[in-house]
């Protein structure tokens, strides 16, 4: 309760007491948005944390070994993730549904494997990032979050956004209407990689140590959970999902030992009682293709 009382009675004190938590909320929101981009185009890809790791290591290595200033190093890290996403995406995006998800999980694990075997990355030990600066990172994080959320929101009405929506609703129909499905899916994948790569750079600027253990499968699962719990029918859902679920452990501090248990119960309750996520909205659409792909084959007339 103290958490909320302080939030409303003493916002400035709250901000300084919880600065790290607020920054982590921002990072998680960015990661969830990067997953939203691909979900919004009807694909479940789980490579985000792999791209995040690429962005983080490249920006930290640049910061430690060259005189490139931070924001530039972060953007270069993001661009490196983007460039890597093209050769990964070309073969992998031919898959769909759960197969696409599994192939992209594989990518994340290979990235961790590479980090563990390349001496420049500090291998299992990780790297100490003396350039990190949590106090300035928070500004970049929320600046970035605002830009990404705004761009994604505005994209909905553009040709690109419409193409994504069409592919999500029905891939075959979209193809028949002259939309180059492969190209638009690749654009979504690559854009998601850019956002995830930048989030990695920002995360590394927040923490003084980066290590391969931070980029494991559990973290991708966490991001997916944020997206589904918040709802991915609009840009606000992923942000709300990330905010609520990242702050939950802090709110429930008194039950710290049972944190994951409570997270699990909350998740089940959200899925069972808020099927479109916390911020799902009333729009009956948004199930479309992704949902059709994942729908239980025996769905009754009430749902189809």
């Amino acid at each position: 309760m103290d958490f909320f009382i302080q939030l409303f009675t003493d916002p400035l004190g709250f901000y300084s007491a919880h600065q790290l938590l607020i920054s982590q909320v921002g990072i998680n929101a960015l990661l969830t948005l990067s997953m939203y981009i691909t979900l919004n185009c009807g694909m479940l890809t789980l490579a985000n944390v792999g791209f995040m790791a690429v962005g983080a290591y490249i920006s930290v290595l640049l910061g430690l070994n060259t005189s490139v200033p931070f924001p530039a190093a972060m953007l270069i890290g993001g661009l490196a993730a983007t460039l890597l996403a093209v050769p990964i995406g070309l073969p992998v995006l031919r898959l769909s549904g759960i197969f696409l998800a599994i192939a992209t999980i594989g990518f994340g694990q290979v990235v961790v494997g590479v980090i563990l075997n390349v001496p420049a990355t500090g291998e299992g030990q990780g790297l100490i990032n003396i350039e990190a600066s949590p106090a300035t990172a928070i500004n970049y994080i929320f600046g970035g979050l605002v830009v990404v959320a705004f761009v994604l929101w505005r994209l909905r009405g553009t040709r690109l956004g419409q193409a994504w929506a069409a592919i999500r609703e029905d891939e075959v129909a979209a193809e028949a209407h002259g939309i180059n499905v492969a190209r638009y899916r690749l654009i979504a994948f690559v854009l998601g990689a850019f956002v995830a790569g930048c989030a990695g750079g920002l995360d590394a600027h927040l923490n003084f140590i980066i290590a391969p253990s931070e980029y494991q499968f559990t973290r991708v699962v966490g991001v997916l959970v944020f997206a589904v719990a918040g709802g991915f029918t609009n840009v606000v859902g992923p942000i709300i999902g990330a905010t609520v679920l990242t702050s939950l452990p802090e709110i429930l501090r008194f039950a710290r030992d049972y944190r994951d248990l409570i997270n699990g119960v909350v998740l089940i309750l959200v899925i069972l009682f808020l099927p479109r996520g916390i911020a799902g909205g009333r729009r009956p659409g948004g199930r479309g293709r992704l949902m059709a792909l994942w729908r239980w084959p025996r769905s009754g007339p009430a749902t189809s």
Binding site: L44, P91, V92, R94, L95, G97, I98, F99, I102, A103, I105, G106, F107, Q109, V110, V112, G113, V114, L116, N117, E123, G124, E171, V172, F217, T218, V221, L224, V225, V228, A229, D257, Y258, R259, D260, L261, N263, G264, V265, L267, I268, I271, L272, P275, R287, R289, L290, M291, A292, L293, W294, R295, W296, P297, R298, S299, G300, A302, T303, S304
Partner: protein
């Protein structure tokens, strides 16, 4: 570097390779047993049950608790742990899958609820068992070993191999020949048609989850016996993703495929360990997975399925 490694390898006696091969087969047994349950549920429900790795962990942990804290004989502890894992499978369907199925919810929702169940079990284990790695006392497992032509084979590994192969044979007969087995195959093929033929779909799915979870729990116990490592994290760290690789390479939903790919993964890991060192062990599994998905999207034994709607 590579050249020196190759000369080193060439200098090894043939028994060295035989030994490594056997080690691969023994660790492959656990992967196979775990993956069979994983793939069975995928075949029937078309969803990934990410709680399967938590059930694997629960089997190992429960057997140790029953044995060490309740003082039961080890065989009874094992039987009880497997029974409870089966019950967990039933509960999993009741809480995480059935309500969503009723509603025709997207499959991604079941994926998330299964993750949630896994979180709950890992957290329960952390709080009641402790986060540290423990082991079964040495007295519970046969520890004799034979030396055959320079190769060391311990009884435990033989036991694990026999149990795995025996159970696979029983499972194959049950699935092919018995009434519940036929019901499982019918539901896997088409739930709606199965329902029209008078099959109780909900009960069949629950049965599938019970079988799958009991196998998963047993796999956990065997892993605990052979790796001497029991902690709340063994499911997540040791088999969750490798199991995924195994069922994809074997062909989603194919039991034979899961068994073959499980042993294959055990062997591939040993080859990677011997030639490239221990760091690449997990990476190799995923490199294989990645290639398998891109080159043979239906797996080694999968039926070709139309993936477009």
């Amino acid at each position: 570097m590579t050249g020196r490694l190759l000369t080193q390898l060439a200098a090894q006696a043939p028994s060295f390779y035989l030994q490594q091969g056997l080690n691969g087969i023994f660790s492959g047994s656990v992967y196979a047993l775990f993956a069979v349950g994983y793939t069975l549920v995928f075949g029937v429900l078309d969803i990934l049950n990410l709680a399967h790795s938590a059930v694997f962990m629960a089997g190992a942990v429960l057997a140790l608790i029953f044995f060490a804290n309740f003082g039961l004989p080890f065989w009874l502890a094992v039987v009880l742990a497997i029974a409870i894992c089966g019950a967990i499978g039933y509960g999993l369907d009741l809480v995480a899958f059935r309500p969503l199925r009723r509603r025709g919810a997207p499959h991604i929702s079941s994926l998330i609820t299964s993750i949630a169940v896994a979180l709950i079990f890992v957290s329960l284990a952390e709080n009641n068992f402790g986060a540290n790695s423990q082991r079964y006392p040495a007295s519970v497992a046969p520890d004799a070993s034979f030396h055959v032509g320079g190769v060391v084979i311990d009884q435990l590994s033989i036991l694990i191999l026999l149990v795995t192969l025996g159970l696979m044979a029983v499972l194959a007969v049950v699935i092919r020949r018995t009434r519940p087995g036929r019901a499982i195959r019918a539901v896997a093929e088409n739930p709606r048609a199965a329902a029209l033929m008078g099959i109780n779909v909900d009960r069949t799915i629950a049965l599938t989850l019970v079988i799958s979870s009991a196998l998963g729990g047993l796999a956990g116990i065997l892993y605990g016996l052979s790796a001497h490592d029991i902690s709340p994290y063994i499911g997540r760290d040791q088999v969750e993703l490798k199991g995924l690789a195994v069922i994809v390479v074997g062909g989603m939903g194919s039991i034979t495929g899961a068994v073959v790919a499980g042993y294959l993964l055990g062997l591939i890991e040993v080859v990677a360990l011997v030639t490239l060192g221990s760091n690449v062990r997990t990476g190799v599994a995923f490199a294989v997975l990645f290639l398998a998905l891109v080159l043979f999207p239906s797996g080694l034994f999968g039926r070709r399925r139309e993936r477009r709607t």
